[in-house]
């Protein structure tokens, strides 16, 4: 309804009939005149706004669907070699054949009934299935199943029995010793152990749309993660790498109700997440001879992640004050809780000390608020004001705990420190549109942090930034942003409860004075519909001028170029190349005084890729090629002692495929994938289980592989 229609309506509703003919006749005359003149203008408006008679729109040529449409791909593939790194997340970690089962199916029925099914990699450990259906526009049901494997390491070994469970024991005949080099039974006891986890996620969802402004949504998800990961356990001054069990279940409920009408949108959402761990703790036998001062230190027990719960209520709203002013707000209040029974302080009966409470009774209240006001006072000028408040209020009781360090020595009393954080951010921004697609932006942000039980109670960061934006400027699209920030810390004091204390000259980098300067540029040039060139430059530099000890400086610079081109109707080409360098300098003091050593970290990563697809139209064959090369170099340099070799990785991947289309419904695909990976890591190389006297290591090696995958599949449409 146009404003004019509404006005006419109001006039009509306001009219009243009277018995007095004169006022009535005048009134009627006025009404008629108004209507006629209004109607003329109205008709002109109506001609522009009147909906056409859509009942005549038959849509005879529209290809509406009815029934089932299925696209199924079946085939077989083969992997040339075992490699956890190659199959890290894709399920191709094992040599041998695998089934290819992929597909989509959709059903379209009467009155908007529908089903959509998507299946991927059903023959692999990375399978997923999504089924969605219902009556479009009324209700939708969703069912999802997804598996995410993570193959961590296939080169680890351990002498411990029971790996994967919560209790690790040493084999009969184990010879404990002061150092790994003297553990005579070690070699014979070592056996391979694979470190891997598998997530299985099941989701069910329902959403309801009504004729009213209200709509409803409910999502339930269960994430079941099983497997093992690398952990460790120290007793006295020696440690062992241990296999830690992973048997986690995370359940989530996401329920929301939304209200949507022109001018006002709101959503109230309730989120619950509960985490449960089938294992409370990990126990292990001490592989070393206990030190003379701690003869009872024969086993250790560490606490595994405890069951916990989080609930959060969120209200979001967006309000159009008028067509030039907009207000949006989000408010979330949440509560985290963890109340598991505490373990005993030690397994060493000689050192057992009492607990002050049965559980930590750990609770945290969270509050997160965002408010944003956007205004466009003129057609060219726009500004926005945003306020953000995040509070983590730790309500966990603070108690004095007697504790035992590594089941070997009584540690004295310590109070737990329930950290709370508050962050307040205010952002002011103005943009001016010069026309012809160019605009200039200017902004100022303040970011305040408050922390408890930490060195700096308050930190304050101010940022001034500017942007230049070009949109469809010629054929150019540019985003350029420059920002300068300065963070000041009013006072930095050592935390008395931390014993032994930190070096008083050290500044923790999240609570230190800092100057940050950054530049980012994104440019895209499209001379015509067939070519697109992209350039992306990012540079940021942090200086911690008042940190004598700790992080002193860091820079992060990257440049990326890409080209996408339709060389012809049959041929598409993609090329990309990028490089990132991350550098940092930090200082330390062995003498626990002024800085006496310095370390520099330089990480470089380079990536290049090339992709080509070509259609041989006459023969119905499409061929594709994807080549990707990447390498990384990590350099650690200390100004003292011997140098480090480089940390490095290199990856070359070539994928080829050829599709032959028999007809509209039948396609044959042959694919070949060759990938080589090599890496070098000084933290692992040459580190056998007995290389380090006080570290019983798993002897993991740096991964490398040279793998081939061949796939042959048929796609059927029916």
């Amino acid at each position: 309804m146009t404003p004019r229609m509404e006005k006419t309506n109001r006039i009509l509703r306001g009219s009243s009939l009277s018995n007095d003919p004169k006022p009535f006749s005048v009134f009627a005359g006025c009404l008629l005149a108004l209507q006629l003149s209004g109607a003329a203008a109205q008709e002109a408006d109506d001609a522009k706004m009147r909906a056409p008679d859509i009942s005549k729109w038959q849509c005879e040529y529209c290809a509406f669907e009815e029934g089932w449409y299925t696209d199924l791909t079946l085939g077989i593939g083969s992997v040339s070699d075992d490699s956890y790194k190659f199959g890290e997340y894709n399920g191709l970690q094992e040599q041998g054949a695998f089934a290819i089962v992929d597909g989509t199916a959709r059903y379209r029925g009467d009155e908007a009934a529908y089903i959509d099914i998507t299946m991927s990699d059903l023959g692999l450990d990375s399978r997923s299935l999504l089924v969605e259906g219902g009556r479009q526009g009324s209700y939708d049901l969703q069912l999802s199943y997804d598996e995410i494997p993570h193959y961590i390491s296939d080169s680890a070994s351990t002498p411990y029995l029971g790996s994967g469970g919560d209790s690790l024991s040493l084999p009969a005949g184990w010879v404990a010793a002061g150092g790994t080099g003297s553990m005579t039974a070690l070699d014979a006891s070592l056996h391979d152990v694979d470190l891997e986890t598998r997530r299985k996620r099941l989701g069910v969802g329902l959403s309801i749309t009504t004729e009213s402004p209200w709509s409803y949504k409910l999502d339930l998800r269960r994430d079941d993660k099983q497997g093992s990961k690398l952990g460790g356990g120290a007793i006295a001054f020696s440690t062992a790498q241990l296999v830690e069990p992973v048997d986690y279940v995370t359940d989530e409920i996401d329920a929301s109700v939304s209200y949507t009408r022109h001018g006002l949108q709101a959503k109230l959402a309730y989120y619950v997440s509960t985490f449960s761990n089938a294992n409370d703790s990990l126990r292990w036998e001490n592989a070393y001879t206990p030190p003379p001062a701690a003869p009872g230190a024969l086993e250790g027990q560490l606490a595994l992640p405890p069951d916990n719960e989080f609930q959060q209520l969120t209200l979001s709203a967006a309000y159009e004050i008028d067509n030039r002013n907009h207000l949006s707000a989000d408010l979330s209040v949440g509560h985290m809780k963890q109340d598991e029974k505490l373990m005993q302080t030690t397994l060493n009966p000689a050192l057992l000390v009492p607990l002050p409470a049965d559980s930590a009774d750990a609770e945290v209240d969270t509050t997160n608020t965002r408010l944003k006001f956007i205004s466009r006072p003129t057609d060219r000028l726009r500004f926005s004001l945003a306020y953000q408040y995040d509070d983590r209020d730790n309500q966990t009781p603070q108690l004095l705990y007697d504790w035992v360090t590594t089941d070997a020595f009584v540690g004295g009393q310590r109070a737990n420190l329930p950290y709370s954080f508050t962050r307040t951010v205010v952002k002011l921004e103005a943009d001016y549109d010069y026309g012809a697609g160019a605009s200039l932006g200017l902004g100022y942000d303040t970011d305040k942090h408050e922390r408890t039980f930490l060195e700096a109670k308050k930190t304050d960061e101010d940022t001034l930034w500017g942007t230049i934006r070009l949109r469809n400027f010629g054929n150019l699209f540019v985003d350029l942003k420059v920002a300068m920030s300065q963070r000041d810390v009013a006072s930095y004091d050592l935390v008395a409860a931390v014993d032994p204390p930190q070096n008083s000259l050290m500044r923790k980098y999240n609570m230190a004075d800092r100057d940050r300067n950054s530049l980012s540029v994104f440019a895209n040039y499209m001379p015509d519909a067939n070519y697109s060139f992209g350039l992306s430059l990012d540079y940021a530099r942090d200086d911690y001028d008042n940190s004598s000890i700790g992080l002193a400086e860091s820079t992060d610079a990257s440049v990326n170029l890409d080209l996408t081109s339709m060389l012809s109707e049959e041929t598409t080409l993609t090329v990309y190349v990028g490089r990132q360098t991350i550098r940092s300098i930090q200082n330390g003091s062995e003498a626990f005084a002024t800085p006496d050593w310095s370390a520099q970290n330089n990480d470089t990563f380079e990536l290049a890729g090339f992709g080509l697809t070509h259609v041989l139209i006459e023969s119905g064959i499409t061929i594709g090629l994807d080549l990707s090369v990447s390498r990384s170099v990590g350099r650690v340099e200390l100004d003292t002692g011997s140098p480090f070799p480089d940390l490095s990785t290199s990856l070359q991947s070539l994928k080829l495929h050829a599709d032959y289309r028999f007809d509209e419904n039948l396609l044959l695909r042959a694919a070949y994938w060759h990938e080589e990976y090599d890496s070098s890591d000084w933290a692992l190389e040459g580190v056998d289980p007995d290389t380090v006297s006080n570290l019983l290591a798993t002897g993991q090696q740096t991964p490398s592989y040279d793998n081939d995958v061949v796939k042959l599949s048929m796609s059927f449409k029916f």
Partner: protein, 334 residues
């Protein structure tokens, strides 16, 4: 004249009729049509007019829309239950500013002499000359509320990103709505992230297991950087709830901000760490004794192998680096 009752009645009825007819729209139209109705002149036959040129063999493939939710005639919210192609592309003949002679000739859908340019219609995509705000207004006519509550004022909207920059409405399966095909769409602008996910330790985005929208809500998230939850930590906890606690002995940077130690996209160091132990830890730990020792290459297997440097460095003993709920976990070793 008005003293006559029947005449009075007639005049009144006429007045009422004109008034009311002026108030009512031309015919009863549904909510969806009303929402997308734009000033202009619509075609006589709707989609059948458009399909005469934009058929299955057209160089701009549009027919796959019938495989999508937009092409569902049974759902009154769907364009094809209402104004069909013109629901999104606007009046098929001409917009409100068109000259009368253009409308006379049939506008965009009329006959065009060879060599003459066809009058335009609202088009979408990077080469469209329709302002982004106008393009997006057509979409947000219907796509409002629910997951789009925070769209207005969000980073993408504020920066002038068009809905059509990311979404392909005429494709049978919109690439940006599927996990495997979503990241390349985002990489069109977020080029640096393609490089980050290619690093040796990364979230499994390049393996097709996670999409960008598993952590980010591009239509306006509750958190910074368009994150799905109000803070970075809360976003990480949706999958890594084992780190949430709260715990008895917390490791402060863990409770404050996961990105103090990790790069969520990718890193050359294990476990997505920005730097590896011991140097990462020594940025904040400087106590007298082993925490402040300069661990050089002398600690490698060829020299005096050191547990502070090799394996997992500090984490060989301080295993509970994310915090501990063990009463003796003060130093994160239990």
């Amino acid at each position: 004249m008005y003293k006559n009752k029947p005449t009075r009645l007639l005049v009144l009825s006429l007045g009422l009729y004109l008034g009311v007819s002026g108030a009512l729209p031309a015919q009863e139209i549904n909510v969806n049509v009303d929402a997308t109705l734009q000033p202009g002149t619509y075609t006589e036959e709707g989609a059948d007019t458009c399909i005469k040129c934009h058929d299955e063999d057209d160089e701009y493939p549009v027919f796959d829309i019938f495989k999508t939710k937009h092409g569902q005639k049974g759902d009154k919210h769907s364009p094809f239950a209402g104004l069909q192609c013109e629901a999104c592309h606007g009046p098929g003949i001409a917009g409100p500013d068109a000259m009368a002679e253009v409308i006379e000739k049939g506008g965009h859908t009329g006959r065009v002499r060879s060599g003459q340019e066809r009058p335009p219609i609202i088009a979408y995509g990077p080469k469209s000359h329709v302002p982004v705000e106008k393009q997006n207004a057509m979409c947000t006519n219907c796509h409002r509320g629910k997951t789009h509550v925070n769209w207005e004022g969000s980073t993408h909207q504020y920066s002038g990103v068009a809905c059509a920059s990311c979404h392909k409405v005429h494709a049978a399966r919109d690439p940006v709505l599927e996990t495997r095909t979503q990241p390349p769409v985002c990489y069109t602008c977020h080029v640096k992230q393609r490089l980050e996910f290619a690093k040796p330790s990364a979230h499994p985005v390049r393996f097709g297991q996670l999409g960008c929208s598993d952590c980010h809500q591009p239509h306006g998230g509750l958190g910074e950087k368009l994150l799905v939850r109000p803070t970075l930590n809360q976003t990480c906890y949706t999958c890594h709830a084992d780190k949430r606690g709260p715990l008895l002995w917390e490791h402060a940077p863990v409770s404050e901000d996961c990105s103090l130690c990790h790069n969520a996209h990718g890193s050359i160091h294990p476990a997505l760490l920005k730097k590896r132990a011991p140097l990462l830890c020594q940025q904040c730990h400087s106590q007298n004794g082993h925490p402040s020792v300069a661990n050089s290459g002398s600690g490698l297997p060829g020299g005096t192998p050191s547990a502070l440097l090799l394996g997992r460095g500090c984490v060989n003993c301080h295993v509970q680096v994310h915090g501990s709920n063990h009463p003796s976990g003060v130093k994160l070793m239990r």
